[in-house]
Amino acid sequence: MPSSRAHIIVDDLRLGWGTRVLMEHVYFDVKRGSVFAILGGSGCGKSTLLRHLIGLERPQAGRIDIDGVGDPKNHEGAPPFGVLFQSGALFSSMTLAENLALPLTKWTPLRGSIVRELVLAKLGLVGLSPFSELLPGEISGGMKKRAGIARALMLEADLLFFDEPSAGLDPISAVELDQLVLTLSRDLGITVVIVTHELPSIFMVADDCIVLDKAAKGIVARGDPRRLRDESKIPFVHNFFTRSSPGASTEGG
């Protein structure tokens, strides 16, 4: 049953290393069942923010609350989310089927043929069931990403994090991936947080977004990406969404 409470609440987050502050005063929330994009130029800290959201890094200050539990590190048992890393991050010594089975065998009592059926079902969802016995080194980059999504779905989490899902993919594969994201969100009610700077993907799938700016050390805009593209008066945001050079920012509207 969908809840009106935000799925993720980020409250006054400050990220950095040692005395270096990468971004501060970061506030946002992600609605349950929505596709939320974290946008910004290269090196602005999008992936770093994602790493904090999934608990791989500790913030210098502030609070991340996922599903009302709090810090992602505080979750007991199975993680309440799935993650697709930029490279797919499949375990190279395992077949696709073994990669997908890993979270199940770790966190559920399921074994044997049931695991096998679930693995094949998830691989089928991303169109990879004929390749279940191949190693990650034997498949293409796009297939690795789809397998990574399937692995992220194995524990039936209602929250998925995708780091640059379309990066390095051909246009057709990228569109297929975007459609998969839409299916996950619209049909299955899964909340999806995407880090990307692929504009076609953003406009196709994202309901809401934040735009990070390295110079501002934080969020410079928040809202529907289509609205930001058409209405934002902030030069960086306008340039970002219209692919304009900084010199053209004031005329762009």
């Binding site: 499949l90 375990f91 190279s92 890993l102 770790k106 966190w107």
Partner: protein, 244 residues
């Protein structure tokens, strides 16, 4: 490194309490790679060291007409000190490099992050089975190396003296004691643990890209070999103090 060693010390009892947090399925592969694939090179290294000790013994003891003591010299030097040391150095160079580069590559390709995001502790999942495989295989490789070391000493002695194989073997068996064997073997699990912790620690500490993998692999090998020598020295000192 101390921080990492502490994490491993905490991880071990947790791994016993939660067996699904350890990648047990990798153990046969690791035993194959660290043990079965390594025995030819460790054995040949020990054979050659046995030859060196044999030649050295004949040349030095021969001056005093004491060639008959060469088998004892080979047994004492090889079983107690040289074989564990040489075997651990070869394993440290070979498997230490392999383990460090494997884990370092996993780190830079986000596989370690993926493990952590799935709620798996990389120390328990990766380090425990690798250290276990090393602890299981290094004593075996050392024991096999002992045999090859004796063969090397015998080859050298027979090549430049009139001693027969039968006489050499007889003299060797006369001098093999449980103490000599155990003094050599008892240190091998510690040497194995040092190699495993140093290699895995370097792998997990990798930051950056391919250059960092190479750099960490080199560090792992150098530190493993140095660690092995230091631990062997400590054991030798300890056994000398105890008069064993």
């Amino acid at each position: 490194m101390f921080d990492f060693t502490g994490r491993c010390a905490i991880a071990l009892p947790k791994a016993v309490g939660a067996p699904t947090s350890v990648d047990w399925r990798s153990i046969p592969r690791l035993l194959q790679e660290i043990g079965a694939d390594a025995w030819p090179v460790t054995s040949i290294a020990n054979l050659l060291v046995g030859v060196i000790v044999g030649f050295l013994g004949v040349s030095q003891l021969g001056r005093f007409g004491a060639v008959a003591f060469v088998p004892e010299l080979v047994v004492v030097a090889h079983f107690r000190e040289l074989c564990p040391l040489i075997t651990a150095i070869v394993v440290g160079g070979r498997s230490g490099a392999g383990l460090a580069s494997e884990i370092a590559t996993m780190k830079v390709s986000e596989e370690i992050d993926a493990l952590r995001s799935m709620g798996l502790d990389p120390v328990r999942w990766l380090v425990v089975p690798r250290c276990l495989a090393l602890v299981l295989t290094l004593p075996l490789l050392t024991w096999i190396g002992d045999v090859f070391g004796v063969a090397g000493g015998m080859t050298a002695t027979m090549a430049i003296t009139n001693m027969t194989a039968r006489a050499y073997v007889q003299a060797t068996f006369n001098h093999i004691t449980v103490a000599h064997l155990l003094v050599g073997l008892v240190k091998t699990p510690f040497l194995a643990l040092a190699i495993g912790l140093i290699a895995c620690g370097n792998g997990l500490a990798t930051q950056g890209g391919a250059a960092a993998v190479g750099s960490r692999t080199t560090s792992a090998v150098v530190q493993s070999i140095f660690g092995v020598v230091v631990i062997s020295t400590i054991f030798t000192f300890f056994f000398a103090l105890l008069g064993i």
